[in-house]
Every structure is written in C-alpha cells, then in structure tokens.
C-alpha cells in the first residue's frame, strides 16, 4: 500500500472522528442550553409563586392584625441561586403556604373573601407552571445525565469538564397545593 493511500485513509478516519466529536460536542452544548432555558423557567415560576404568596400573606395579616402575628418565614430570592438554594426557597414557600392555609381555616370570613379566593386560584395556576418548569428541567437534566454516563459521549463530556446536574426536587406539599377546595 502506497503512502498516499495510507495518508488518505488516515485523513478520512481523522475527519470522521473530528465530525463525530463536533456533533457529540454540539449535542452536549444543546443539552446544556436546554437545561439553562428550563432553569430560567423555574426562576420565573418561583418569582410568580413568591409574588402571589406575598399578596396572600398581606391579605392574611390584614385579617389577623388584632391577634398575635403569625410568623412567616422570610424568603430571599437571588439571581444565580444553585439548584439546592432554589429547592430551599421552594420549601420555605411551601411552609408559608401551609401556614396561610392553617390561618385561613380559623378565619371563615378570610376563606370566603373574593380576594383570597382569587389568590388561591392564582397560586394553583402558578403551582402548575412551577410543576411544568420542574418537569421540563428534570427531563432535560435526565437526558443530559444519561449522555454523561454513556460511552463514548462520556469521554467528550469529561474533556469539556461537564459534570452531572442536580434535579429540582418535587415534594408532596407542592402537589397538595393544587387540591384546593374552593
């Protein structure tokens, strides 16, 4: 076999490997972009949930002002929070929402007020949006994590310094939020 043929075959093999590397690398990049996009969806939903909960707390406080104040946990939303921090914020919101429901049980006039009912409907819708964002994010993370553990994609991911992403947890309290009796 002449040197030229060997060089041609070697070039073709290198081109195939290069093409494959680029395509896998792009696939991983797209997966990362999709995760980032869905993460911003979670942030939007968390912010909406925060806004509605704040309004609900204001309404509850207006009804309970003559009694000792119910202690709602302070929520701080920041940009660039980690998934764990987002989970924590969400848990605090769950806790506040639970407290709101407990207070509302003791104040029938609060529970039957139009403002409160509207906010309850709103929180249910916001909750659905948060669930959608969470499921979309987790679905994207699942696809990405599967790519990271399957060979030979894993080797390219390693060379790019990509690591497994955390899931955004769902918990039972959040699921209960949508089961509001109006």
């Amino acid at each position: 076999m002449s040197l030229t043929i060997i060089l041609i075959i070697a070039s073709i093999i290198i081109l195939i490997i290069l093409g494959w590397y680029i395509s896998v690398s792009n696939k991983l990049n797209r997966a990362v972009v999709k995760i980032d996009e869905s993460l911003s969806g979670i942030d939007v939903a968390l912010t909406k949930r925060y806004d509605v909960l704040t309004k609900m707390i204001d309404v509850v406080k207006a009804y309970t002002k003559h009694e000792k104040e119910t202690l709602f946990e302070v929520i701080k939303l920041r940009k660039d929070m980690s998934i764990q921090e987002r989970n924590n914020v969400n848990h605090v919101m769950d806790e506040n929402f639970r407290k709101i429901n407990v207070v509302a049980e003791n104040y029938p006039e609060l529970k039957s007020s139009e403002n409160y009912k509207t906010l309850q409907q709103s929180i249910a819708d916001v909750e659905e949006h948060l669930q959608a964002s969470r499921r979309l994010y987790n679905s994207n993370v699942s696809i990405f994590n599967q790519l990271l553990v399957s060979f030979p994609t894993s080797s390219i991911a390693k060379s790019k310094g990509l690591t497994k992403k955390d899931f955004f947890e769902a918990d039972e309290i959040k699921k209960e939020d949508v089961k509001i009796n109006l």
Binding site: G41, T118, Q121, D125, H129, A132, S133, R135, S139, V178
Partner: protein, 311 residues
Amino acid sequence: MGIEELKQLQLQIIRKNKTCNIIGVLLFIFSSLVLWVNYLSKYNLIELTIMAILIDLVFCVIIMAFVKSRVNGKNIRTFYKEFKNVFVLSSLQNVFDNITYYPTKGFSREFVKSIGMIDTGDSFNSNDYISGKYKNISFEQADMHIQEEHEEEDKDGKKETVWETTFLGRLMIFDFNKSFKSDIQVASRYFSAESLPWSKRFSRVRMEDIEFNNSFNVFAESEHEAFYILTPQFMEKIKDITKKLGCSVMFCFVKNKLHIAVNNYEDSFEHNVFKKIDEKKIQENITRDIKLITNFVDELSLDNNLFRREV
C-alpha cells in the same frame, strides 16, 4: 312529525322503492328478450347478444336510479330531516343546554384550515353541526369527511383516479380550563406526518412518560406550555380515553380552546332509511354518539375551573 308518521313515511318510501325495483326487473327481462330474439336471429352471434344484454342491464340500472330519485328523492330527504328532528334533536336537548343543531351544515373547510391541525385534503364534507353547553362548558362539534385524490396505475398501465379517505369522524371544540399562549398538538402516532401541518412548523416535544411518547407525537411552539398543559394526570387521561375509543385521536390546544379530532370512521347521528325503525336501538346509538362528546368533558375534567381565572 311524530315517530308514527315517520314510520308511515318510511313504509311509503320502501313500498315505492319495491315497486320501482319490480318495474326495473320487468323492464330488464322484457328488453333482454327483445335483444335476444333480434340479435340472435339477425347476426347469430351469441357473444354479441350477451354484450348487448349487459349494456341493457347498465341502462336499466341508470334509468331505475333516475326514476327512484324522482319518485322517492323528496321523501328520503324529508325522512332524514325528520329523523334528526324527532330522535336526535330531542336527545341532544335532554343532555345539553343552549343547543343549536344543523343536520346538514358543518364546519367550513376554511375554518378547519385556519385551525391548522389537519390537512383538509382534496374533498371536504362536514355536517351534523352541534353547539351547546355541557356542565357549563361551551362546545361545538361536527362530522367531517376528508378525502385525498390519487392517481393509480392498473396492471395494463391505465391511470385511474382513486379517492382515499384520510379522515372520517368528528371534530369537537371545547372551552379549555387553562390559559395558554402558544399552540400545542397531541396526535396519535397513526396519523401520518403528511396529514399534520404542525409537524412542519413546530418541533417535537418529548414528555417524561415513555408510554405516552410511544403512542403520541407532541408538537409545540413552547416546551414549557406543553409540560404545563400535559400534566402527568392529563397524559394518563388522554391515554385512557384513546385506548377506550380504539381509534386515532388528535388533541390540539389553540387559542385557549381544546380541539379534538376523532378519526373513528363513523358517521354519527345517522339512520339508514331502509333499516327498520327500532326506537330502543336508535336511542342507544344516539346516546353512544352523544357520549363521545360528554366523555371528553367528564374524563378530561374540563369542568374543573381551578385554573380558569388569573390575577
């Protein structure tokens, strides 16, 4: 018109039809005998005589079809119209509120095209338009028959036009209980990609439910909205209802309305004029046709108004 009068009209139609058939057979026998005697005596060619009798048969059939349409056409039209007034309308009024029913009208091709969920083909027909409210949910529906024209070559290389039915069933439109901004389509995988204009416009969304992904194609402008509308519970309901129907079904979420196309190859709210009027059986069929509408509201919980309003 009451049921008894409808039965009388049907008897009249059947009697006239029988008379036409007898006259037709006699006409054919008589003309065949004339041809047989004349051709055989003149040309003595049995093949030519048989050919002439076959042509005579075709002529007799055409003449009888024309005579039947002249004698019975008006009565048959009246029968179908009155059947729908007597049986269908009253059944619809028992189940739905604010009912509007047009037996001969349906959705226009332009309207179905504007939704963009399904290709309207080369031939488009729609009838049995119904609009009303069920459990306070507004809906409208109509039967739809869509056909594509094809040219096929036979063994001898001759081209012939063939009409292929791509959709025969119902299109139903319901008020949906969630607000959304972008369009989403969920189609059984039996629907070919060519019949789904959205497959070219939007990218396919893969849900987390593998069984759902294997049974349906989801096309959406926004992945988030697809996940928002298609909750795990809603996907289960879609799978259940489609399994029960046993045919291809398409769900489209457009402008805060749910559009459902059921390709069950059935023409609803119909009764053959020559079939005996069995009130119990007819009522069962109409109830089954009505249940197709109510089942979607009940099983998909479209009357759940938890998300209907937003702050």
